[in-house]
């Protein structure tokens, strides 16, 4: 059952991800991305990471995609459809894609052991976690406090940047 669900969700994810990059209409592209993200959330639920799955939907589908659509909607579809599919940054994209594929092959060859981080090996994070959200919270505020704070500073900087960019005069 679990294997069946995994392959179904993975198929949804991959198919819609391909649709996302191949669709000519930007709004449809966004719609496919939403479906892909929902498939991803399903995978998280399957891995018993309910908190991450719910936050995935809340943040990506409910927040980021809505803002994406907000911008895309105002762009004329006919203009965008006539444009070239690749822009000047395609060389960078090739390099990044190669690096990512090498990493992916390394993980596939390495097997499950590669994914076990130090925290898992030392038993800080155990496999069975019933109260998911509490664990995430506790981990964020104890073992991973520094990365958490760094991420929050990054967000603060981004927020100030957005305000500065949006205001005409300060």
């Amino acid at each position: 059952m679990e294997v069946f669900l995994f392959y179904t969700l993975a198929a949804i994810l991959v198919v819609f991800a391909i649709f996302t990059v191949t669709a000519r209409n930007p709004v449809r592209s966004a719609l496919y991305l939403v479906s892909a993200l929902l498939g991803m959330a399903g995978l998280f639920f399957l891995l018993k990471a309910e908190f991450v799955g719910a936050v995935q939907i809340l943040v990506y589908v409910g927040g980021i995609m809505v803002l994406f659509l907000f911008v895309i909607m105002l762009v004329s579809v006919r203009e965008v459809q006539g444009e070239r599919r690749a822009n000047r940054q395609w060389k960078t994209a090739v390099v990044l894609a190669t690096v990512l594929s090498v990493e992916l092959i390394f993980f596939v060859v390495g097997g499950a052991d590669v994914f076990r981080t130090e925290a898992v090996k030392q038993g800080v994070i155990t496999q069975i976690q019933t109260a998911n959200t509490q664990n995430v919270g506790q981990m964020l505020y104890t073992n991973y406090l520094l990365p958490f704070e760094i991420a929050s500073i990054l967000l603060l900087v981004a927020m100030i940047g957005a305000v500065v960019l949006a205001r005409k005069e300060l």
């Binding site: 209409n25 709004v27 449809r28 719609l31 939403v34 309910e50 908190f51 719910a54 936050v55 939907i57 809340l58 589908v61 409910g62 927040g63 995609m65 809505v66 803002l67 659509l69 907000f70 909607m73 105002l74 579809v77 019933t130 109260a131 998911n132 959200t133």
Partner: protein, 366 residues
């Protein structure tokens, strides 16, 4: 094996079917209730022709919607145009899978009686003991509150996509307004719920109600500010007056659903009313003790326990729906700049302050 099948497949399926049916009926009659109530507020009679005092009006409306021609504008994006109403309606129903309408042992007796005809006593006993089967809810997950927030946020996409796919200016403007409105009010809505979570210490809606029973206190008395915020933002999230700018008929014809007709229009219509019921049910669960009777610990009020818990839940939800419609009949619509100002400059700071104060008080005194 039969046991697993019963607990995880057959009984949930029956529950889902029954709830979808009841909810659809409730939505249909909510439209009539709204029309009658608003009519009486405005000293009119409302629908009177079909049935006694218009009692069969929803059925007539439904038939008419189905029989009308389903027009897709020629320049519209047909795929997106067709699926957008469904995207709007489905999340509203899905949320109900985690909302508890009765205590965990609600169907125990019924299960024992009905399963007794088909299975041996050991199976019946273990199924009836399982709260997933016997509980007054479809499922109880430990992230229910997050689930409600995230699923209902998907519903916005239906409105945005519908407005865009129509390829017409009024729907596009309506869709833009609604996305801006919903994104802003969702933030304050989320923060208002955190107040309850701090007190309840759980994300499961069933546990939140049980904790209210243990505390002998509905959380509205502990978190009145959070409740007020939740209710106002919930009204904004459901696009109800005074926050119905996305479909402001005086300025935008019909808003995002201007180009929709027939059955697809009725799906949007149903989605709005389903969302109203959902928000009311979640508000009742989080703040007004869900299925609990008033003053659960006062012994001389024990006679209130004669009314079954599910009825208490329904009464409370009904009161909320009444207030929703009452507000609609009373208040004028906001201007768009007022709406945005209230959302970001009033509700969000108040919600943040409420979280900080609640957390501080909890840390200091408890």
């Amino acid at each position: 094996m039969t046991e697993t099948l019963l607990v995880y497949a057959i009984i949930p399926f029956i529950k889902i079917a029954v709830i979808v049916l009841i909810l659809s009926g409730a939505i249909a009659y909510l439209t009539l209730f709204e029309r009658k109530l608003v009519a009486h507020i405005q000293v009119r009679l409302g629908p009177m022709r079909v049935g006694w005092h218009g009692l069969l009006q929803p059925i007539a409306d439904g038939l008419k919607f189905i029989l009308k021609e389903d027009i897709i504008p020629s320049k519209a994006d047909a795929l997106v145009f067709t699926i957008a109403p469904a995207i709007s309606l489905i999340p509203a129903f899905v949320v109900f899978s985690v909302v508890p309408f009765g205590p965990p042992e609600m169907f125990e007796g019924l299960l024992r009686w009905s399963l007794g005809w088909f299975f041996d006593s050991a199976t019946v006993e273990s199924v009836a003991q399982n709260t997933l089967a016997s509980g007054g809810f479809i499922t109880d997950i430990n992230i229910a509150v997050l689930f409600v927030l995230s699923v209902s946020s998907v519903g916005i996409l239906g409105i945005i996509l519908g407005g865009w796919a129509s390829n017409s200016k009024y729907p596009l403007l309506g869709a833009l307004r609604s996305s801006a409105q919903m994104v802003s009010y969702e933030v304050a809505l989320g923060f208002s719920i955190i107040g309850v979570l701090l007190v309840a210490g759980s994300l499961s809606l069933v546990e939140i109600v049980q904790n209210q029973e243990k505390a002998h206190l509905w959380y509205v008395f502990v978190q009145p500010v959070a409740f007020a915020l939740f209710f106002i933002c919930g009204m904004a999230e459901t696009n109800r007056l005074p926050f119905d700018l996305p479909e402001a008929e005086t300025e935008l014809v019909g808003g995002f659903h201007t180009e929709y007709s027939g059955f697809r229009f009725s799906l949007y219509f149903l989605a709005e009313y389903a969302n109203m019921i959902t928000i009311s049910a979640v508000a009742v669960t989080l703040f007004w003790g869900g299925w609990l009777r008033p003053f659960p610990n006062v012994s001389w009020l024990a006679f209130l326990g004669l009314i079954p818990p599910v009825l208490w839940f329904l009464i409370k939800v009904f009161l909320f729906l009444y207030i929703f419609i009452w507000v609609r009949g009373t208040l004028p619509r906001f201007r768009f700049d007022q709406l945005m100002r209230y959302g970001w400059k009033v509700f969000l700071p108040v919600a943040l302050g409420n979280v900080i104060v609640s957390a501080g008080v909890l840390l200091a005194f408890l």
